[in-house]
């Protein structure tokens, strides 16, 4: 019997053969392998502190987690950083700002990305030990399905749309089309920004709006639903949706830099305490002029260009 099986040469089935022949041995060896791997991990994280900051020959690992809005930029930064520092391993996980802040507070990652200040998610004694590094600015635009026939709204109209006072686009000069609101969950950082700076703190009407958290899906929702309105970060804007001017101000980074358009927020990278030499090198790179071009290419704004400032809550 066994001979027949051995003849079958298909890599994918190797485990079955062994499983049948010597299941227990396999389990033992897996456990052994796992513990060996664990040992190697310890060795790896040990490298981090041993990294040298001199002469650009950095080595070690950087683990980043958090904000999904910042993930693409962080990934791009990681790739570029590796070009000059090939011995450094950088991995970026999205998972949400809450996860990022929680992880960095627990020290399970080296950098935690967040759309909001740590104080807004964590208890104050946990947030106290975190050090904020603002890496860029992100603008949030109200977007509508092109069939709405509207390109500009006043701030009051925007508020009335999202609170459910205005229910048809013709009330704001558009087509006779019912308004469909697509919201984000209350835990979302983008929603917090939009509520604070676009709606003047007014609560959106949750019971009557659709909800979507993921920006890519949200954009698809708006693109295919006539009369829909939502808000997404500038980095997700494309031709399928129509960004709305607010009080005749176009949602662009120029207008954010000059202070004319105020629906924006900082993107944060938090470290727990002062960053290690390696993390510092990475953060310096993200904030450097070399990386500025990538930031604007990916649809984010430059912190250094900002003529207006905001302070933490």
């Amino acid at each position: 019997m066994q001979r027949i099986i051995v003849k079958v040469q298909k890599i994918e089935h190797e485990e079955e053969k062994r499983g049948i022949k010597k299941g227990m041995k396999k389990i033992l060896s897996v456990i052994l392998a796992a513990s060996l791997m664990a040992a190697s991990l310890c060795a790896c994280s040990g490298n981090k502190s041993a990294s040298s900051s001199a002469s650009g020959s950095l080595s070690g690992t950087i683990q980043i987690s958090g904000s999904s809005a910042l993930q693409p930029l962080a990934q791009a930064a990681a790739d570029k950083f590796k070009e000059t520092n090939p011995d450094v391993s950088v991995t970026v996980n999205a998972g949400g700002s809450g996860t990022g802040l929680q992880n960095i507070s627990d020290k399970t990652v080296d950098i935690g990305d967040s759309d909001v200040y740590a104080e807004e998610k964590l208890s104050s004694d946990k947030a106290k030990s975190l050090v904020d590094h603002i890496v860029c600015v992100v603008g949030v635009a109200a977007v509508a399905n092109p069939q709405a026939g509207v390109s500009n709204v006043t701030k009051q109209q925007l508020t009335d749309i999202f609170t459910g006072e205005i229910t048809n686009w013709k009330e704001v000069g558009g087509n006779d089309q019912k308004i469909v609101i697509i919201n984000r969950p209350k835990s979302s950082g983008t929603r917090a920004l939009f509520q604070k700076y676009a709606l003047g703190g007014e609560e959106e009407n949750t019971g009557k709006s659709l909800m979507e958290d993921n920006s890519g899906t949200l954009r698809q929702n708006v693109a295919q639903t006539p009369g829909s309105v939502a808000y997404i970060a500038f980095s997700y804007l494309n031709d399928s949706v129509k960004p709305l001017y607010v009080d005749n101000v176009q949602p662009t980074y120029e207008n954010i830099y000059s202070g004319k358009y105020n629906i924006w927020g900082y993107e944060h990278m938090y470290t727990n305490g002062q960053p290690s030499a390696l993390c510092k090198a990475f953060l310096d790179y993200v904030q450097s002029k070399d990386f500025a071009k990538t930031i604007t290419e990916k649809g984010y704004g430059l912190y250094s260009e900002m003529k207006v400032k905001r302070s933490s809550p």
Partner: protein, 299 residues
């Protein structure tokens, strides 16, 4: 003598190994259960909400920091139940018919074509189902029913039905296959047609197995997260009908788990939802058991 001793050694070694594997399953289940119980009860122990509020209130406004929010999850629970129930209504007749075809009508075609088809269905990631649902099914429903948008209980139910039908089909087919051939021969011997044989003999005899498949499908539907969330609109309101949007337990867990910090009232409430999912799947097991027992009593 020595040979015999060696034989016994082999016997007991193998026996111990497989027994340990059996016990491992118990340990694993208890570990997951205990862990979810520990995480899921924090809403009630440290945030001092009542179980009644969680189950029956529709006021869902948990606090991200500190406490004082509302954790009524009724909308999510009702949404989960309604969507899964409709998915089951859609999937069951199709799946049983497909299973009958595979076993009674054309076993060879069943084995060569349908069985692999079922396996491929299982391997398609749920996010692909969800995305096809979002870009094809949702606009289609909006057009057909002349709605503002197609995000609805129906869309969720259809996507789920497609996803759970392989499970029901394969379990039902197994059950039908295991009906002894003597039953069929006896039925034919009495002069019945093939359909009469299937309808009066095979289906009743395989009923417990078929129902097991149905309940397993229901459990699968209840726990599915990524695909359904894309097409139901996630509106935080009770559904007004088949064509209106709503939300469910898994959609809220996936949307907010990453955005809330561990230990916050909101995060705890999400864990309570996860615990509820476990309890519900356990209830399904009990139901399967009762069905099985009834089937056994009958025969």
């Amino acid at each position: 003598m020595k040979l015999k001793r060696e034989k016994w050694k082999k016997e007991y070694l193998g026996r111990t190994a497989v027994t340990l594997a059996g016990l491992f399953i118990i340990v694993l289940t208890l570990a997951i259960g205990a862990f979810l119980f520990y995480k899921g009860t924090a809403t009630f122990t440290s945030d001092h909400h009542t179980v009644a509020e969680f189950l029956f209130s529709s006021n869902w406004e948990p606090a991200q920091q500190g406490s004082g929010g509302k954790v009524g999850a009724a909308i999510f629970i009702v949404g989960s139940i309604i969507i899964s129930a409709f998915a089951l209504l859609l999937a069951t007749p199709f799946s049983i018919a497909a299973a009958l075809f595979m076993t009674e009508i054309s076993p060879s075609a069943g084995r060569r074509i349908l069985q692999p088809a079922v396996e491929i269905f299982v391997g398609i990631p749920s996010v692909v189902y969800g995305w096809v649902g979002l870009t094809v099914l949702v606009p289609f429903l909006a057009k057909v029913f002349n709605l503002a948008y197609g995000y609805s209980v129906l869309a969720g139910a259809i996507v789920l039905a497609v996803m759970i039908s392989p499970t029901i089909t394969s379990v039902a087919a197994d059950a039908i296959r295991s009906v002894p051939n003597e039953y069929r021969e006896a039925s034919y011997g009495l002069g019945s047609t093939r359909w009469q044989m299937i309808y009066r003999v095979v289906i009743p005899a395989a009923m417990p197995g078929i129902l097991t498949g149905v309940v397993l499908g229901l459990a699968r539907a209840f726990g599915e997260a990524l695909a359904v969330a894309m097409v139901i609109g996630k509106m935080q309101a009770f559904p007004k009908g088949l064509l209106s949007p709503t939300t469910n337990l898994t959609a809220e867990i996936t949307a907010s788990m990453g955005n809330t910090a561990e230990g916050s009232e909101w995060n705890n409430a999400l864990w309570a939802m996860a615990l509820l999912l476990l309890i519900i799947s356990f209830l399904f097991i009990v139901i399967i058991r009762l069905i099985g027992k009834k089937g056994a009593d009958k025969t």
